[in-house]
Amino acid sequence: MRWIWIDKFIDFQSGRSATAVKNVTLAEEHLHDHFPGFPVMPECLMIEGMAQTAGILVGEARAFKEKVILAKIQKAVFFDFVRPGDSIQLEAAIESISPEAAATRGRITRQESLIAEIDLMFSHIDQNLTGIPFPKENFVFENSTFQSLLREYTSRGHDGGPQARVVHG
């Protein structure tokens, strides 16, 4: 199972908001366990999709210099479930951002239907010494998949999107 829970960006306003899409397909192995006979996308993986959308938005806002880690789920409320063949949109907006942390608000929709509301807090762990050891290099954004998602968005000719940035390890 690859740890990437969004498929592409369809909107990206640097420092403000971003919208990504995730397709749900029977080709995803974990669905067959959740649940056998009636697959639905696990709610926790929808939260992760939002965390990746919002986390990339927050990271890009500070040129990927910070290690942006999910620190708190303020709230995640689910109104319906999502099935194979569905395509969901994950919309995130930065509510607050400071040197140590960021707060984002988000909604997941399936066409006109509201699937979830998810508000998150990220910690910039270099600025937030917690006494917990972690590597010096930016292990969060080394992930080339996140970078290629943004590159792919930019290459589709969108204006106002993220600058092409190189992540320095």
Partner: protein, 167 residues
């Protein structure tokens, strides 16, 4: 029955204690063999925060199932609040989840859950689950409900093999 899948989406390994209607304790062992660790993160493998929450959700779900005697096939996360991540869980370590029910009703339940590893707090959360049968909305799916419940009973037996106070 789909037994030939490679990756299993199960985020707990054994149930060590359960008190119907009240509480449950479970354990998850984390191994580098778990594929997603290769992406999270390549130089710093740690269990993703949402899978810590999933461990709490699964633990609570089993408490509901044993309390209501597997009355419902579908138990899903309705909401999670104030989920806090306090430390990382690394491969080779184990996490023990302790979940206490605040209220378990027929179609809704609420919990407080914590996870700790070697005395270090890893995660805490307040969350609610909703329970239902597919047949509630579509009579033709009653057979699927029965299949899911059978499969879950099998998994329950598997998870309880590690239980301290078996009933």
């Amino acid at each position: 029955m789909e037994d030939n899948e490679v990756m299993r989406f199960i985020l707990i390994d054994k149930i060590i204690a359960v008190e119907a209607g009240r509480s449950i304790r479970t354990v998850k062992a984390l191994s580098l063999a778990e594929e997603y660790l290769g992406d999270h993160f390549p130089t710093f493998p740690v269990l993703p925060g949402v899978l810590l929450l999933q461990g709490l959700v699964e633990s609570a779900s089993w408490l509901v199932r044993t309390t209501e005697n597997f009355a419902h096939s579908m138990i899903l996360l309705a909401q999670a609040r104030n989920v806090k991540y306090k430390s990382f869980l690394a491969p080779g370590c184990q996490i023990e989840y302790a979940v206490t029910a605040k209220d378990i009703q027929e179609d809704l339940s609420s919990f407080f859950g914590e996870g700790a590893s070697g005395g270090q707090a890893i995660v805490e959360a307040r969350f609610s689950l909703r329970h239902f049968n597919l047949a509630d909305r579509r009579h033709d799916l009653a057979g699927i409900d029965a299949e899911i419940i059978e499969a879950l009973k099998g998994r329950w037996a598997l998870l309880r093999q590690g239980q301290e106070n078996r009933r």
